[in-house]
């Protein structure tokens, strides 16, 4: 009976002595600057205008990068860190605005504007093509630019023939 109690005591003691080691090994190593910047690059400084967090030189941005490092060390995923920043500072910290509400305009307007531009250009070219070309010297209508030199040559030849 005594031996059994001793065995139990030894097992508990061994378990307790191993536990702190296993807890330490479960912790994440300190994330590197590259790992921090990989996430910071996707976010914008909430205070400075149009400055990505990874290159922002202010103290506030330094604090936010350290916060990212801390969250990574706690095992948070990049998505969770991004969400934390959105919850705390608003969607304006995202490098790409979320595709909802009026933000859709950001994604829809540029291609639509491009297509409208192409359409307008196409219409304009077609209209120019239909316009009759006018020769200012002769005043004749209906002659195309490529036809004019031939006509001029033929008339010149006719004049020369008359003189002969």
């Amino acid at each position: 009976m005594k031996n059994f109690a001793f065995l139990i005591f030894c097992l508990i003691f061994a378990a307790l002595s191993i536990l702190p080691g296993s807890l330490v090994s479960a912790q994440q190593p300190t994330p590197s600057d590259d790992e921090v910047n990989a996430i910071a690059r996707q976010l914008f400084c909430p205070v400075c205008a149009n400055t990505p967090l990874d290159v922002c030189p202010t103290q506030a941005c330094h604090d936010w990068r350290e916060l990212i490092r801390q969250m990574l060390a706690e095992g948070k995923t990049p998505k969770e860190i991004e969400q934390y920043f959105v919850d705390h500072y608003g969607a304006r910290v995202l490098s790409e605005p979320p595709q909802k509400g009026l933000n859709w305009l950001v994604y829809v307007v540029p291609p639509v504007a491009f297509l409208i531009g192409v359409f307008l250009l196409f219409q304009a070219f077609r209209a120019w093509k239909r316009l009759p070309a006018k020769s200012p010297a002769s005043g004749e209508a209906g002659l195309t630019a490529s036809a004019r030199p031939d006509d001029y040559v033929s008339r010149l030849e006719e004049e020369l023939r008359k003189r002969e």
């Binding site: 103290q59 304006r92 409208i116």
Partner: protein, 179 residues
């Protein structure tokens, strides 16, 4: 023909939208004398209001509300902090004035460190999602303080730090005697 009309209408709508967006971005929602829209401030655990960790502006009707925007990274906020705490200690016993510290784009740990180091005791919390700040000023310059009267109207604003208790009193006292 119809296609062209549609294109022009589309372009016009786009320009109107762009113009409205620019106008919206340049103009504050409120000016002195306008009704302050209701907002909810989630407070830091150690800085509650009457034991609650959330406070709504609408729930403070009947009291003068001093909304102070600050951040731990803001140097002039540090200069202003002793003045604001002195003002809070001056008004708090009578219960007619409520101070709300709104921490603008900050790291919580740094903000709490800041509050502790300047012995701030009035209710404070982060502007989660930066939803409160744009109500008062879209291009905020830290620190800024807005004073809302007992009926919920904006009565004065201080852009930059208050320099002394007398400055704060000159903004608040007239509201307490009904001027």
């Amino acid at each position: 023909m119809w296609a062209q009309i549609l294109v022009w209408i589309g372009l016009l709508a786009l320009l109107v939208l762009l113009g409205l967006g620019l106008f919206h971005a340049q103009h504050p929602i409120m000016s002195i004398g306008s009704k302050v829209p209701d907002f909810s401030l989630t407070l830091f655990d150690k800085y509650p209001y009457q034991g609650a960790n959330q406070v709504n502006l609408a729930g403070l009707r009947g009291k003068v509300v001093v909304v102070n925007f600050w951040a731990s990274w803001c140097v002039t906020c540090a200069d202003e902090s002793p003045v604001m705490e002195a003002a809070w200690n001056y008004y708090q016993p009578k219960g007619q004035v409520v101070f709300l510290g709104v921490d603008y784009t900050d790291v919580d740990a740094k903000a709490l460190e800041f509050l502790s180091s300047y012995n701030i005791t009035y209710p404070n919390g982060p502007d989660l999602g930066t939803r409160i700040t744009p109500i008062f000023n879209r291009n905020i310059a830290m620190p800024e303080t807005y004073i809302v009267d007992q009926q919920g109207f904006l009565r004065s604003e201080q852009i930059g730090p208050f320099q002394s208790l007398a400055d704060v009193r000159s903004a608040i006292d007239p509201l307490l005697i009904g001027r």
